[in-house]
Point group: C2
Chain length 320, copies 2
Amino acid sequence: MPWAADAPVVLLAGGVGGARLAHGLHFHLGERLTVVVNSADDLERHGLAVWPDHDTVMYTLAGLDDRERGWGLRDETWNVMEQLQRLGQDAWFALGDRDIATHLVRTELLRDGTRPTEAARRLQAALGISARILPMTDDLVRTRVRTDDGWLDFQTYFVRLHQEPAVLEVAFEGAPAASATWEVTTAVRSAAAVLVAPSNPIVSVGPILAVPGIQEALAETRRRGTPVVAMSGIVGGRALRGPADRMLASLGHEASALGVARLYAPWVDVFVIDQVDAALAPQIEALGLRVVVTDTIMSDDAARARIAGEMLAAAGVAGS
Amino acid sequence: MPWAADAPVVLLAGGVGGARLAHGLHFHLGERLTVVVNSADDLERHGLAVWPDHDTVMYTLAGLDDRERGWGLRDETWNVMEQLQRLGQDAWFALGDRDIATHLVRTELLRDGTRPTEAARRLQAALGISARILPMTDDLVRTRVRTDDGWLDFQTYFVRLHQEPAVLEVAFEGAPAASATWEVTTAVRSAAAVLVAPSNPIVSVGPILAVPGIQEALAETRRRGTPVVAMSGIVGGRALRGPADRMLASLGHEASALGVARLYAPWVDVFVIDQVDAALAPQIEALGLRVVVTDTIMSDDAARARIAGEMLAAAGVAGS
């Protein structure tokens, strides 16, 4: 094997799906886990640097996530937001009180010139997380989507408009001029395995691949024998969460595990699909991918750990 | 009379004492009231622009102040602060959740290039306040105090060290290069009366006078017959609130209404003292000040309105 026994396992991840799989992987890997998160959904609200995907993964790994709501912190309160509304602010992006503490610390660090990656690591350390969560880049990359109403910021589409408009085109503003951090490229190059979370392939995984340096690092690590193992976030033709299915369709892709597999085939080795999609296996294998069929629904901690274990097994990595 | 019937009445004010008198004056004057607040106590905490004196006056005029605690908003909660502490932040300056909404809106306005005076007016408008509360300047002025431990930021002395060290010297950093806003100088020049709140004469009223342009405007308005009426914040030799008595003493002044009168005599016409200090009246009159003796303790709304009415009467201004 070309990697060390303690070589990192890298997970490319968006928000909720990424957080659940990261949580499962963390049971097996502890500090060996490195999560590279999409930062193209980040936004500034009320002057605060808000990083939805990073924070969802961070809160989940810290065991502080609200499982019922599916995002944000458990036992959250909303008093700042309520007062912002009284002050006439347009409070369409809900920020909880405890969550705002995270944004305050981060915003101050960034304004003081701290690199985003370093700011992220300090917050993770403050919450006692042993895994590493790395923004995909320290540069500003922002997803924009074209709809019948023209180009929109991602969060305007996603939160404010409840993902209702059809997405006709997607752009990652700033990506061509961005570069991957050495933390990300080093982790990918030295990884025992690279995993891809069941996140939205277009707007969660897509921006990570759009950062110059990341695809190159992935290609290099695959040449050296490190497998890339992805899981489908489309099950039975439906997204587990969010608008991935409609987005795939409106962008001309098939809204199925096969549609995702076609997007991933150039850079992925193993594709994990749900039992309900078992019939798609031959078509996916025909794309050159090895297929693993399992129950992919991460309903509880046990399921998260089991599915993470199966992904690691598919990648030939033994958990600790 | 040299002023219009709707000419503003200007109150020079610090925090709590200023807020109480402003509240009383507001009963009589409504939108005729212009409060010029000390901004040399302002600070940045957790990346937020925090303006303690301005906000105390603003919350009080909006009827949102917490009367028991004496500062901040009523029905306040502290969840952001609690989480900031969990994140390892040194949370010595308490910021309530609803209060943080104010700071967020202001910080964003300032970062977008809005003048402090304009940012202040927008927040006041959002809270439905008809009076005007003007920072003494749009420039950065910061009070620093010298103690046995060297020079300290004002809030480090005031909040963090609970005003315990003796103040040996006071400086208003930035004041020489600052200038009064046209809003402040215009209000003072066109005022029917200028009142001075029972605030700390050294570190609340002092910084306002230290801003170039304000003393000149006061002198001009007095030459045109507008009276300046001040109230003593030292009653029976004790500060009503805060460290003014100890500060006067350690700086070589008398810690009494007479000590304050000596500081104010060059630019004030009428001095309002409490009944308990009636015996000081002859000495204060000998300084060239007219003296009004009354009960100056603003214990409730009725007392605030009565005392404000007496100050207006002393200034020859009829309330609405």
